[in-house]
C-alpha cells in the first residue's frame, strides 16, 4: 500500500552529486581515457590505417547505438505516458544528448571511406552489375547527405528533449510535459526510419552486394538492449555510490531488469529470424554474409553470440530476485553490454578479416578514445544537473512505484 509520505517531491540536494563525491572525477577520467586512446590511435593507426578505420567504426557504432537506444527509451516513455521510469529518465537524457558528440566522432571515418566501404572506391561499379544497379543510392555524395540528415534529425530531437526537460527542473511548467508527449510519436517515427537507413549505410554497405530487410530492426534491437544494459549498470552504480539511494528503489531496478530480460529475447528473436530466412532460402548474395561468419574462428563468435547474448542472460535474468538487487542486475547488465560490443564487432570485422578473428590493439585504442569522450561528456553533464527530472508533474508517481 502506498502511504501519504510517498507523495512528497525531492529536494535538489537529494538528486545531485554532492561536492567532493568521487563521481565528480568521472569527466577527468573519461577525458584522460579519450586522450590516451586518441594518442594510441594516432601512433598505431599511422602504421595500419585500414585497421584503425574498422576499429573506430565498431567503437563509434557501439556508443552511438547506446545513445540511440536511450533516445528510443525516453521517447517511448513519453509516448506511452509511462510513470515508473521517470526517476531514471534523466540518465537516458544524459546518454542521448551525446549524439552531437557522436556526429563529431563520425568525421574521422570520412577520411577512410575507401578503406572501409569498397563501393566508394572509384570504378568499383564498372564491372559490377549489382553495384551499378545500387549506384543511385550507394554513391558518396548521397551517403554524406544522408549522414548529415541522420545526425541532424537525431541531434535536433535529442537536444530538444534534453533542454526542455532540464528547463522544467527550474520552472515546473506542466505544459512542457504535454508538448514533449505530443512530439514523442512523430519523433519515434523519424528515429525508426533514420536509424534503419543509418544501419544500412554504415553496416550493411560494408558488404555492398548483401541486403537484409530485417537489418534495421536487428540494429534497433541491439541498440535498445545495449542501452537498457547500460542503464542497469548506471542505476546500480549510482545506488552503490550513495547517489539517488532514496530515489531509485528495488522496484525500479526490477522493471529495468524486466526490460533487459525481454529485449535479450527480442534481440535473439530478430537475430535468429534474419539468419533463418536467409539460411533457408540460400540465395548467394544473401547467404554470403552469414557464410563469412560461419567459417573459421568467426563461427566461434557466432556461437558465443547465441549462448552469450541470448542463452546465458535469458536464464540468468529470468528469476525475480536477480532483478531486484543492484549488484546482481549490474552483473547481467555488464555482460549484455559486452555482448552488444561483440555483436557489432561480429557485424563489422569479418569484412576486414574474412580469414578469422584478428583482435588488434587498435580495437582497444578506439574503444578508449570514443568511450572516453562518451564518459567524459555524460559525467560532465551529470555534475551540472539534477540526476532526476525534479519537477516533472508525475515524479511522485514514479517515486511511489511498486510492482504488483
Amino acid at each position: 500500500m502506498t502511504s501519504e509520505r510517498d507523495y512528497v517531491g525531492l529536494r535538489p540536494e537529494q538528486a545531485t552529486i554532492p561536492p567532493g563525491h568521487s563521481w565528480n572525477r568521472i569527466p577527468v577520467i573519461g577525458a584522460a581515457c579519450a586522450v590516451l586512446g586518441a594518442v594510441g590511435c594516432a601512433i598505431l593507426g599511422a602504421a595500419n590505417p585500414k585497421q584503425f578505420f574498422f576499429s573506430w567504426l565498431v567503437s563509434f557504432l557501439f556508443f552511438l547505438s547506446l545513445a540511440l537506444g536511450a533516445l528510443f527509451f525516453v521517447l517511448i516513455q513519453w509516448a506511452t505516458q509511462g510513470g515508473w521510469g521517470i526517476v531514471v529518465r534523466r540518465i537516458g537524457e544524459t546518454v542521448f544528448v551525446t549524439i552531437p558528440v557522436m556526429a563529431a566522432l563520425f568525421v574521422p571515418l570520412l577520411f577512410g571511406l575507401q578503406d572501409v566501404y569498397s563501393w566508394t572506391v572509384p570504378g568499383a561499379a564498372e564491372h559490377d552489375a549489382l553495384l551499378q544497379w545500387k549506384a543511385p543510392y550507394l554513391n558518396v555524395p548521397f551517403f554524406l547527405i544522408r549522414a548529415a540528415i541522420f545526425f541532424g534529425c537525431w541531434s535536433f530531437i535529442a537536444v530538444l528533449y534534453y533542454r526542455l526537460s532540464r528547463g522544467q527542473d527550474a520552472t515546473g511548467d506542466p505544459k512542457v510535459s504535454a508538448r514533449l508527449r505530443a512530439l514523442a510519436g512523430p519523433a519515434i517515427i523519424v528515429l525508426a526510419i533514420t536509424q534503419t537507413f543509418a544501419s544500412i549505410d554504415w553496416i550493411v554497405s560494408l558488404t555492398p552486394h548483401w541486403y537484409s530487410t530485417m537489418f534495421g530492426v536487428y540494429f534497433f534491437a541491439g541498440s535498445f538492449v545495449g542501452f537498457i544494459a547500460l542503464l542497469s549498470v548506471i542505476a546500480a552504480a549510482m545506488r552503490g555510490a550513495g547517489l539517488l539511494e532514496t530515489v531509485i528503489s528495488a522496484e525500479h531496478l526490477h522493471d529495468i531488469g524486466k526490460f533487459l530480460f525481454a529485449f535479450t529475447a527480442f534481440w535473439a528473436y530478430i537475430g535468429f529470424s534474419q539468419f533463418f530466412l536467409i539460411w533457408y532460402a540460400n540465395l548467394p548474395e544473401e547467404s554470403i554474409w552469414f557464410k563469412a561468419r560461419l567459417e573459421g574462428s568467426w563461427e566461434f563468435v557466432s556461437l558465443l553470440l547465441m549462448a552469450g547474448h541470448f542463452g546465458a542472460p535469458f536464464f540468468y535474468l529470468m528469476g525475480r530476485a536477480v532483478k531486484r538487487k543492484g549488484w546482481t542486475l549490474a552483473v547481467g547488465g555488464t555482460w549484455v553490454l559486452a555482448m552488444h560490443f561483440v555483436d557489432l564487432y561480429w557485424q563489422v570485422m569479418p569484412t576486414l578479416h574474412p580469414e578469422g578473428v584478428r583482435p588488434s590493439a587498435l580495437d582497444v585504442a578506439a574503444l578508449l578514445a570514443v568511450g572516453g569522450c562518451f564518459v567524459a561528456v555524460t559525467g560532465w553533464l551529470m555534475r551540472r544537473q539534477a540526476l532526476v527530472p525534479l519537477r516533472d508533474p508525475r515524479l511522485a508517481e514514479s517515486l511511489a512505484f511498486e510492482n504488483a
Binding site: 539468419f275 539460411w279 525475480r320 511498486e402 504488483a404
Partner: protein, 185 residues
C-alpha cells in the same frame, strides 16, 4: 476427483467468517491475524487489494517453477520430435539441407515451449488454487454474497491449531469486524 471438492475440517464447524467495511480495515485486520500466528485462513475482496499478500504473510507461489519446467519440457519435446522424424525415423532431403538441420527446428521448438508454458501457467494456477471447485461452505453464509459487491471478509478455518471459536471471534471483533459468524461444515 480430489480437485473438485474442498478439503474440509472435520467437526461441526467449518470456521469463522468476519465482515469488514473497507479495504483498509481488511488490510490491517489481515496483518493482525497473520501476527497472531494463524495459518489456515483467507481474505476475500471484490477487487485486488495491493500489498494484501504481504499483509497476509503469503509465501511466493511456486507457479513460476511449474511454468519454467513445463516450458522446457515443451521445447525439448518439440525439438526431440523433429529430430526423431527428420533425422531418424523418416529422413528426407528437404531443399537440399542436411537431415539434422537444427535451425529449421527452432520455430516449432519455440512454439511448443510457449504452448507448454502457457498450459503450465493455466493448469498450474488452477491446481494450486484447487479449482474448479463446485462447492464451498462459505457459500452458506448470506452476508458472504456481498463479497462480489462491496464487502470484505476474513475466514479462519476451524482446523487451524490456534482456532478457538470464542477467542477467535473476540479477536476478529476487536479488529473492527462489522459482523462475525460461525459457519457449519
Amino acid at each position: 476427483m480430489p480437485l473438485l471438492v474442498p478439503q474440509l475440517p472435520k467437526g461441526p464447524h467449518y470456521g469463522i467468517l468476519a465482515e469488514f467495511g473497507t479495504p483498509t480495515d481488511l488490510y490491517h485486520a489481515c496483518e493482525r491475524v497473520r501476527d497472531a500466528g494463524f495459518t489456515r485462513w483467507d481474505a476475500h475482496s471484490p477487487f485486488p487489494v495491493h500489498g494484501l499478500e504481504r499483509a497476509m504473510g503469503i509465501r511466493r507461489s511456486p507457479l513460476p517453477w511449474i511454468v519454467l519446467i513445463a516450458g522446457l519440457t515443451g521445447a525439448a519435446f518439440g525439438f526431440g520430435l523433429q529430430w526423431l522424424v527428420h533425422a531418424s525415423a523418416q529422413p528426407l532431403v528437404i531443399s537440399g539441407k542436411p537431415y539434422f538441420s537444427w535451425p529449421a527446428f527452432i520455430p516449432i521448438t519455440f512454439e511448443l515451449g510457449v504452448l507448454f508454458a502457457a498450459f503450465g501457467a493455466v493448469l498450474g494456477m488452477l491446481a494450486l488454487n484447487r479449482l474448479p471447485m463446485h462447492y464451498h461452505p462459505l457459500f452458506r453464509s448470506k452476508v458472504f454474497e456481498r463479497v462480489t459487491d462491496d464487502a470484505f471478509f476474513i475466514s479462519i478455518e476451524s482446523w487451524d491449531p490456534r482456532f478457538d471459536s470464542a477467542a477467535t471471534r473476540k479477536l476478529l471483533e476487536s479488529l473492527g469486524a462489522r459482523s462475525v459468524e460461525l459457519l457449519e461444515s
